[in-house]
Symmetry: C3
Subunit: 170 residues, 3 copies
């Protein structure tokens, strides 16, 4: 596995091993096209080194791939797959914004919103569908902080929405 | 329409066209007084170039202007109006914090939390009540990333709460 | 009360009075051990001056100290105690990450997610369980922006989860 070393010249020197694109290719993962927003917003905004993503949903094209609540219309395993699908959409947006996943120096924070009907869902296991993909692509040294929140419903009645903040390097 | 050009001398040079105050005045919009917090928190915190706002509610004075859940006690159209009202409160806080809306170089991220009774609400349309105002005031080139989340209930039983992060320039 | 003065040499000069550790000791508060994450994430991520925490729960060790929803299985007062417990866990993570609470120059933003069964909960009063502790430890001049959100359920079926962003100084 080829690794490039990059030393940030800024205030916070940090050695960055950038091989996310290699890892993705080695895993045989092809990213979908980046989702285009429907309304008065954009897929991502960069401010300084931080890249804030729009809420990522488990969609394919502009259609929801999963509909329903985890623990009611959908199983926990389906919720986990939905989280994985939403995370793939996030990677597609990052690549479109920055040109390459290798420009991510850190996954700063991930929030996994899960549509649930009530208590009893293993929410961390559902959220791992996104977290594990991000770890496998960006590496253990770039793992994010994480929140998991069970909510009433989400846009398009999908089961998962991801909030993501990345740190980008130039 | 009068436009001022400002070139940020910092690490990320960015040409900023600042005419939000003009656009607001041209639209005949008067901002309410900035909401004063009730407890052990403040209306906004700036760290570096980022301005993090307290959750903005559809209140007038210290009273909720809308009460209930969208899709149950309130229609989608009322939800959209509540999102607009909350966004006006956000603008009032920004102007109070920075002196002028023209010091905003970017609307970084907007999260629209919508109190819902279940599925079936057109959440993006409700959220547009806030997004469209922000786009019309700050311009298309400063549009934010956005999340929309349907939740069980919000403080004062209002239908909308906005999370907002802005980028400020000096 | 001993106070150290620190002048940040960065772009935004700010005089920081750092006595959070003293205040904590004076109040006789002992922090629990910092919670270790279970999965593919870390307790906190620093990017620039911002420290983003993983969602803090009202746990002791790896067990939930409170289970249920506020206004249903739990009273508002229990919810407030749970928010306080989660905030203690946040302080423990901050100290572990930075070496000392005195390196916090600002509590930037706090979001209090409260698991509720419906309307009628005094959500701000519940959230104060966290906000008041943070104010008492870090001081009025470092008070955060705040959001309060009532949600369907949270991991481990706890009543409270905290989102926290701090600003750190070197």
């Amino acid at each position: 596995m080829q690794e490039a070393l990059h030393v940030d010249g800024g205030a916070h020197n940090r050695q960055i091993v950038t091989n996310a694109e290699n890892r993705l290719a080695a895993a045989g993962i092809q990213l979908p096209p980046a989702v285009a927003p429907f309304g008065a917003y954009v897929p991502a905004v960069r401010s300084g080194d931080l890249l804030f993503l729009t809420g990522m949903l488990p969609t394919l094209g502009h259609k929801p791939k999963y509909v329903g609540r985890v623990g009611k219309e959908l199983t926990g395993e389906q919720g986990r797959s939905a989280a994985y699908t939403a995370a793939l959409n996030a990677l597609a947006v990052v690549r479109e914004q920055l040109g390459s996943l290798d420009r991510i120096s850190r996954v700063v924070r991930l929030t996994v919103y899960i549509a649930v009907a009530g208590a009893g869902v293993d929410q961390p296991a559902v959220a791992d569908g996104a977290s594990v993909l991000l770890r496998d692509v960006f590496g253990e040294d770039k793992m994010s902080a994480r929140l998991v929140i069970g909510v009433a419903s989400l846009p398009l009645d999908v089961p998962i929405e991801l909030e993501l903040i990345f740190e980008a390097s130039d």
